[in-house]
């Protein structure tokens, strides 16, 4: 039971980070491998504020959202925009380049060591129930993940911004003709994706750790969540992330010899038999 619970918490964390990628990759069709770099930026924003300036943990989260969002807007305006029409390969190469640069920059500014994080009292500790040990922080992660999932699903489906975004993705020319400022919508969406990454990164310092290699180490996990869940599908990403989290935690607990092998195998198998993801539908 504890494993299941930890797995769900890990999955929620994965979901928090990768849902941003699901937004940019799925809705805007940009293969952004540099997504982890934005998550790392959020993580560092949180850790620096917490350790160097003594800001309480929860109060650092807005900064962890804002900093990557701003970075996302700046990069989108200056660089990403030029590559919307480019091939997948160009986008991949470009974002790998960004990953390398961000890793080097993190080395330069923060050093190679793992960043420590001290959780506040009310988020650490455990609740003991018969049969289950529940970490309070993990409970907090699950709640945060669910909140984000609901909010995001609601805003894409129900709000006028969501409608404009879907219109801009489905048919850019017509959307422009209807008076939708497509450039602005894309900028905001990209900022949203980066902000979600930053939030996930900050919340994930506790479980995933934070060092300059973060974007490379977890890149594959984010991609797996998006590709298994079906890109652009928020609930699909949620299910896929939880599945992945449980499989990962359980796999590492029961068969540590094989390690991450299972996950990669699952990804390859999914891509072969369901190229659009388990919960995805083919692109129009």
């Amino acid at each position: 039971m504890t494993i299941l619970f930890d797995g769900i918490a890990a999955g929620m964390l994965l979901f928090l980070i990768s849902v941003g990628l699901s937004v940019t990759l799925g809705l805007m069709n940009f293969v952004n491998l540099a997504h982890g770099a934005f998550a790392m930026l959020g993580g560092y924003a949180c850790v620096v504020l917490l350790n160097d300036y003594g800001v309480p943990f929860l109060a650092t989260l807005p900064a962890a959202i804002l900093v990557p969002a701003l970075a996302g807007i700046v990069l989108e305006r200056t660089l990403y925009r030029r590559l919307y029409a480019a091939s997948d390969l160009d986008q991949v190469l470009f974002s790998i380049g960004l990953v390398f640069m961000s890793v080097a920059a993190a080395h330069y500014f923060f050093g190679a060591q793992q960043q420590p994080l001290h959780l506040p009292e009310f988020l650490s500790g455990q609740i003991h129930l018969p049969g289950v040990d529940i970490g309070v922080y993990r409970l907090f992660l699950i709640a945060a993940g669910l909140a984000v999932a609901v909010l995001l699903q609601w805003s894409v489906i129900r709000t006028s911004f969501g409608a404009r975004l879907r219109a801009a993705v489905d048919n850019q020319r017509v959307a422009r003709g209807m008076g939708i400022d497509v450039n602005r919508v894309f900028s905001l969406t990209f900022a949203l994706g980066s902000a979600l990454a930053g939030l996930g990164g900050a919340l994930g310092v506790e479980m995933l750790g934070l060092d300059p290699e973060f974007p490379v180490k977890y890149m594959v996990y984010f991609l797996i969540v998006v590709s298994v869940g079906g890109s652009g599908n928020i609930l699909g990403s949620l299910y896929a992330a939880i599945l992945l989290g449980v499989a990962d935690v359980a796999g590492k607990y029961y068969v540590p010899q094989i390690g991450a092998f299972i996950i990669y195998a699952v990804m390859v198998a999914t891509l072969i038999f369901r190229p659009h993801g388990l919960f995805g539908r083919p692109h129009k």
């Binding site: 190469l93 640069m101 594959v220 072969i272």
Partner: protein, 350 residues
């Protein structure tokens, strides 16, 4: 574009077809610049006698880049996990060497066979799907191998690497020396032989059909080209080449470690090919020369900044120089020639 395809052209009554066939045959001939290029490794042998290890690294990286060029530059299959085949080749030699079968040529052949077998099997995973899913599948295969090598420490030595790989003298005559002199000559000869074969391959009808598949995969079946079979074949050959490159690395270093399978190696390779220019054969070689030398000079200063420059180069190449070194050079030459022609045309009537 249709007339440049050689299939069926000899009997074709179309007047352009004969010219196209002629042009096609001429393009397959060795050019003076190519002879000059292959003088470089010989010159380097005499010019930099203290740097044989670096030079053989260039040769090995060149061969590795060549293998990716075959499958990416010619057939258009994007791979983010080409290190898988490199690693299989390296570990094949490592296993043979530590069990007493250290003959280099036998190692090369078996490494090529092992990598090609893996390439053949995994190629079927790539026939379906878009660029993105190919990317993820190749990445996934490479990561699976990495995990396997990481966990089966009793066979591979894991992170610490595989010590005690013993490589016997080549043909029983030339022993690998510690300055890498024999290793360099050996690597260059293997590179040249395989390059020569690859050059024959891409200028054959087979190579032409690969280009056709890259340009228009829907049209090629209509011309009678079995697309899937061609892709499987070229992927297998490319994998075999990568295996040989890995084997060369293992033999010249007499050591195999986990990083032969790493993601970094695949990403670096893609960078090398893009930097040099994909689809020219020489692009990968040029990219390898630039990359290895830049790596040597820059990471001497600081290994972490090296990665920053690497990323910057990638971003700049994607944004401003899509064809890489060779592609950009070709664009320049063509545009300057066109300018000269239009100048001549405007001047001649006056």
């Amino acid at each position: 574009m249709t007339t440049s395809n050689p299939i069926g052209t000899p009997s074709h009554p179309h007047p352009g077809a004969a010219a196209a066939l002629d042009r096609y045959r001429r393009s397959a001939r060795w050019k003076p610049l190519e002879y000059l290029f292959w003088c470089l490794p010989v010159l380097a042998y005499f010019a930099f006698p203290g740097n044989y290890l670096l030079l053989s690294q260039i040769a090995i990286t060149s061969l590795f880049a060549l293998s990716l060029d075959l499958i990416f530059g010619y057939a258009g299959i994007i791979s983010l996990g080409h290190a898988a085949f490199f690693g299989v080749g390296a570990y094949t030699v490592g296993l043979l060497g530590s069990n007493g079968y250290g003959d280099p040529l036998l190692g090369l052949v078996l490494a090529a066979a092992a990598a090609a077998a893996l390439g053949f099997l995994s190629s079927f995973l790539l026939l379906r799907g878009s660029d993105l899913s190919r990317l993820m599948v190749t990445l996934g295969v490479a990561l699976m191998l990495y995990e396997l090598a990481n966990k089966f420490t009793s066979v591979t030595g894991g992170v610490d690497g595989m010590p005690g790989v013993e490589i016997k003298p080549i043909l029983g005559l030339f022993d690998f020396d510690m300055f890498g002199r024999v290793g360099y000559v050996y690597s260059v000869i293997v590179l040249f032989v395989l390059f020569w074969f690859a050059r024959r391959l891409v200028h054959s009808p087979f190579g032409q059909s690969l280009r056709g598949i890259r340009m228009n995969a829907l049209r090629m079946p209509a011309l009678g080209v079995p697309v899937n079979r061609r892709l499987v074949t070229v992927y297998t050959i490319g994998a075999g080449y990568a295996g040989v490159a890995g084997a060369l690395l293992a033999q010249t270093n007499a050591f195999v470690s986990l990083d032969v399978l790493s993601f970094q190696r695949s990403a670096d390779l893609l960078l090398i090919l893009i930097l040099g220019g994909a689809g020219h054969l020489y692009g990968g070689l040029l990219g390898a020369i630039v990359f290895v030398i830049a790596n040597y000079l820059l990471s001497d200063m600081n290994p972490q900044y090296w990665q920053f420059w690497l990323g910057l180069i990638l971003v700049l190449v994607v944004l401003f120089a899509r064809g890489g070194i060779l592609g950009t050079a070709r664009l320049w030459i063509e545009s300057s020639r066109q300018r000269a022609q239009s100048r001549a045309r405007t001047e001649s009537p006056s």
